[in-house]
Symmetry: C2
Subunit: 217 residues, 2 copies
C-alpha cells in the first residue's frame, strides 16, 4: 500500500478520481495528505469529505520558490508519502524539490504531449485544427510538461468544438488514466530508462488505432 501526497490548486476533480480509486481498491494505496497553495480550493473540501488531512501553504507568503517548495517537501516527508501526484497544481516545482523525490513526482496534462505543453491547451488544440488530442500522465522533470510519459489517452477533436466540450471529453479520460498510472506505480510495474517508461507485461496491440474523420463517413 503506497502513501500518496496530492498537490492541488483548484477544484480537484482528479484528486476525487484518485481517492475514489483508492476506496474501490483500484489503487493499492491511500491519499495521505492533500496540499494546496490556494486557500479556498474546492479540492480541500473534497479531501475533508474523505477525512484526509489537508495543508495550505500560500506561495505568496514565501520569499522565494525554494523556501515554498521546501516547506511542501518537508510536509510530504512528514506524511511519509511514496508518491507525489500533482492534480491541477499551478506552480512549477524547483529542481531541489524534485531531487528530494526522484522519479516519484507525477502530473497529468490535458493534451497529447509533446503536442501542446503549457496552459490553455484545449483551446490551442481546437484552434490548431487537430483531429485528436487527449491527456498524458508523466513523471515530472525540471521542464514544463516534458518528463517521461507513463500513460496517454486519445480523444477526437472536431472543428466546431467549444473548449468546454473538449474539456469534458478529455477529463473523462483523465479520471481513468490518472488512477491507472498510480496503480502501475504502486505495483512497481514502471521502469524509467532515459525518456522512456517501460511497463511490465505490456502486450503490444497493433489494433489500437483510430481515424478521424472516420474512413467510412
Amino acid at each position: 500500500m503506497i502513501r500518496i501526497g496530492v498537490l492541488v490548486s483548484g477544484s480537484g476533480s482528479n484528486l476525487q478520481s484518485i481517492m475514489d480509486a483508492c476506496d474501490r481498491g483500484d489503487i493499492d494505496g491511500e491519499v495521505a495528505v492533500v496540499i494546496s497553495n490556494v486557500a479556498g480550493a474546492y479540492a480541500l473540501k473534497r479531501a475533508e469529505n474523505n477525512s484526509i488531512p489537508t495543508k495550505i501553504f500560500l506561495h505568496q507568503e514565501y520569499p522565494d520558490r525554494q523556501s515554498f517548495d521546501s516547506r511542501i517537501a518537508q510536509t510530504l516527508e512528514e506524511y511519509k508519502v511514496d508518491l507525489v501526484a500533482l492534480a491541477g497544481f499551478m506552480r512549477v516545482l524547483t529542481p531541489e524539490f524534485l531531487d528530494r523525490f526522484p522519479h516519484r513526482v507525477i502530473n497529468i496534462h490535458p493534451a497529447l504531449l509533446p503536442a501542446f505543453p503549457g496552459l490553455g491547451v484545449r483551446q490551442k488544440a481546437i484552434d490548431h485544427g487537430v483531429r485528436f488530442s487527449g491527456c498524458t500522465v508523466h513523471f515530472v522533470d525540471s521542464g514544463v510538461d516534458t518528463g517521461p510519459i507513463i500513460i496517454q489517452a486519445v480523444v477526437p477533436v472536431y472543428p466546431d468544438d467549444t473548449e468546454e466540450e473538449l474539456k469534458d471529453r478529455i477529463i473523462a479520460l483523465e479520471h481513468q488514466i490518472y488512477p491507472r498510472a498510480i496503480q502501475l506505480f504502486a505495483q512497481g510495474a514502471l521502469e524509467i530508462a532515459g525518456r522512456k517508461v517501460f511497463v511490465r507485461n505490456l502486450v503490444k496491440d497493433a489494433s489500437l488505432c483510430l481515424v478521424n474523420p472516420p474512413l467510412d463517413s
Copy 2:
C-alpha cells in the same frame, strides 16, 4: 472526376494506394501525371505499371528553387490537375508554387502533427517515449508540416518498438487515410477556415478514444 498530380521521390507506396483507390472507385478521380525529382525512384515504375504518364525533373539541374518549382507547376497545369498530392516528395515547395495551386496541394506526414514535424519522426516518437503516434494528411502551406489538417490516424507506440515496426504500423494507416482525404477533396466535402478544415456531414463521436497502456492490462 478530379485529376490528381502526384509528386514523388522514392518508393511511392502512397502513390500505389492512391492509384488503387482510383481503380476501385474509392476516389472519384484519376492520377493524371506522376512527377519525380529522383531518376530511379521506384514510384516511377509503379506509375508506368498503371499506364500513368511520368516526368522526371532533377532539382540539381535548375539554378534555383523557383525555376525548379516553376517547371513542375507548368507540367501540372499542362496535365490540368485539380489536386497536387505529395507522396514522399523530399523537396520543400516555394510560396510561388503554392500560390499557383491555392488550397490544392496536400501532403502526408508520418506523425500526429503538430508533434514531430520534419524528418526521422518515427524514431523521434519512439525516443520521446510517447504512447501514441500516427499520421496526418494536411494542406501544404509555406511552413514545414504546418498546414491545415484534413485527417489524422492514431497508432500505438511501445517503448521497445523498432523504427521498422512503428513504420509498418503507421504506413498501414497512411494507405487508408491518404485516399480517404483525396476522396473528401474530390467530393467537395472540405472547407478551409484559417487553420481549421471543416468536413461536411461529419458526425461527432465522443467514443473515438484509446488508452495506452490499456486500463485493464
